[in-house]
Symmetry: none
DNA sequence: GATGAATGAGTGTTCATTCAT
DNA sequence: AATGAATGAACACTCATTCAT
């Protein structure tokens, strides 16, 4: 929702504004983030900022939109963001393989763009809070819905249990992924590139344990 | 850390200050919470507040300490907070039963004291964040450590796997519990009292699936 | 006083700029009116506005000039604005008849062009104020002078008393007309067309009572 | 509506704040008036102003209330403001004598407190505008109602005509008084004290001419 | 002729904190 | 032991105006 002028701005400046604002918002949250600081760091005048964005809220939403677009691009496999890799799998095994691939892509992306990771965690944390900014809640909701959709696909393939109240499985699985991510984030500095695959497999295994039907052959337990 | 004078204050007033401050901090977070509002709601003067607490930060820490003490009291089974029920179990089965009991107590407590629940979720959400107040991170860390200790006990009993990097299992399990809690919170209004037991069993089952050794008889899958 | 370029502008655009600006100035007053808003509503660029007008003040004066020209055209009987109907009456009775006709014309005009009415009232209200914009005070002064001239004509015909300090009679009469107008404005929606004549006669009668010489046969009291 | 603390402030400081604020509001109107300027002129800090008043609006209302209280005190004859001198007159002649006395009091007051005059005219001018601040419109409305009440009393005594639509007479008379006032204000510097009586009689005569029943013996025309 | 990006002093408002009493 | 008046830097936001293109 930035004013249409923003689209016409020099791409470098655009990217810089979004980067600087992302950092500030990611580091301090919407409320504490200071527009004055963002403006100063961008080297713009007050008026210029308000020339492109109608207010702090608008800037924030723009930052989040940019983040979400980037995220979904990664999640859709680098192709256009309408591509849904999980729609193409046809067996439970392929389904779980796609989860591994999904995680592999995500981790690689976070390593390259640490700010994305910050934003991502902010979104996750904001869930169900009632306190955080509506736009952030929106983004969190979209992420959650993405996962819900993928779990739905898993249900169709018989890879995901269906005997629990709507939302319970999703929230628990989502929470676990979030926790795993948290650990991952703190280890990023120490994480050798060649371990990424193992990590992706591990988190997928955890996910399986939670969401697989109780009658299924348990993941990672094939004697 | 409040000034020593605070200890000498009339217990009713003490409790009132902490309750009012808890509500404000729980509802709006440290940064957005207004000392002015707290002071007004307590019916005290500005000077009085600063007589007992050196600053906003100090008040916040006091509130959190009180919260944490209350939490651990519940978690220790209502006895003094040095009592550690998990230390007393001697078999894996007893270990899991204690988890169920633990959850049952927690849920009952949240239902009676919603403010505690609010604080709790704030703590959870703040985890691993460079954003939130250090004192909140501290509390979150202590909660995490409590769980870590309990998982350690599980390891000793052979109920918890030991083949993963320190922290990974903890964060994943903690995240799952958090997500489960989140779902629970939204259902509180609709949750009949007699279902609490089932809920406590369910979340424990999820926990088992994540943390049990891979070779173990999987939880909830006994034919 | 707009820059000479304005004269050369396409008449439709000219009229549109003046209309839009009139609305904004009439609705919000000089200070609160936003040039940005006017510019946006006109669909022109910032630069263009400053190409034709040297500043906000300049635009305002142009708008007022246009308003005043239109007003005097009406008051001069629809003919060119040098025509002065009151100069042509030769008896007191004809003088008062002309006042009635004057009012009839004015009311009809306001009904067709509400913006004019708004401007008119703004001018009236600004009278004798150290607050309003000098240009508005100027316009108000010119309106006052128009009435002064007409009263002068009345004095020549013996229809208007001459025994009071310069200005006193004028201000009182002007104030009364203003008050009458105010009432009129609020009743516009409910005012059937056929009552306009009665209204015009009534206000003229009020005017007569104030300004007629004390020895004259009082208006509306002819046994 | 100032915060209750304001009442406890040193009366000199209170009066000073109201005086300074009155001047600024009277001179520039609500919107243009700068709180910063008022604060600086009072020699207070920003915080202090907001300690006593919740916002600009609050300060403005306080100023207006003070003004209105002062005005009604004068109008009630210097006695407490519940005293209504017009209620005590019992004949048309006494009624008109009270108007003269009323005007005499008002003029004397304006001469001593010029700011009151400024405020008064701002109120008058704001009438029926839709633009001005609601609080100002309120005050204007109360003044109008005061006059309406007095005219009503005149009707009861047969001193005021009753054959015109509600409001028309009031607005016309009010407008005339306003215009008269305007003239008066510009002459204040030149007005010798001994002429005040004549002025008060003159404006009352004007009023009579407008509002007296058409059949009555006209004022000031007794051959 | 015309554009629109950029400016920056200005606005009203908040709030943790201090300190004379 | 307690008060509450006072502070002032910081906040988000506005808008008439300029000027390189």
């Amino acid at each position: 929702m930035p004013l249409p002028r923003f689209a016409k701005l020099d791409p470098n400046k655009k990217a810089n504004i979004i980067l600087v604002a992302s950092e500030e918002f990611a580091a301090r949250g919407y409320e504490k983030a200071s527009l004055n600081v963002i403006i100063a760091r961008c080297g713009m005048s007050k008026g210029a900022m308000y020339y492109y964005f109608s207010d702090k809220d608008d800037l924030y939403r723009t930052v989040l939109e940019d983040f979400l677009a980037g995220l979904f691009e990664i999640w859709s496999g680098g192709a256009d963001d309408k591509h849904r890799p999980f729609d193409e799998v046809e067996t439970p095994e392929a389904y779980w393989e796609e989860w591994i691939a999904h995680y592999r892509r995500s981790i690689r992306h976070y390593q390259k763009q640490p700010v994305y990771g910050e934003m991502f965690h902010r979104c996750l944390r904001s869930r169900a809070s009632g306190i955080s900014h509506p736009a952030l809640t929106d983004v969190a909701e979209q992420i959650r819905e993405w996962i819900a959709t993928v779990l739905k696909r898993g249900e169709e393939l018989g890879a995901v249990r269906t005997d629990l109240p709507e939302g319970l499985l999703l929230d628990s699985a989502f929470g676990m992924l979030e926790g795993f991510d948290r650990w991952l984030f703190q280890e990023f500095a120490n994480l050798p590139d060649e371990e990424i695959d193992g990590i992706a497999e591990l988190v997928t295994e955890f996910l399986r344990r939670i969401v697989e039907p109780v009658s299924a052959e348990p993941a990672g337990r094939r004697s």
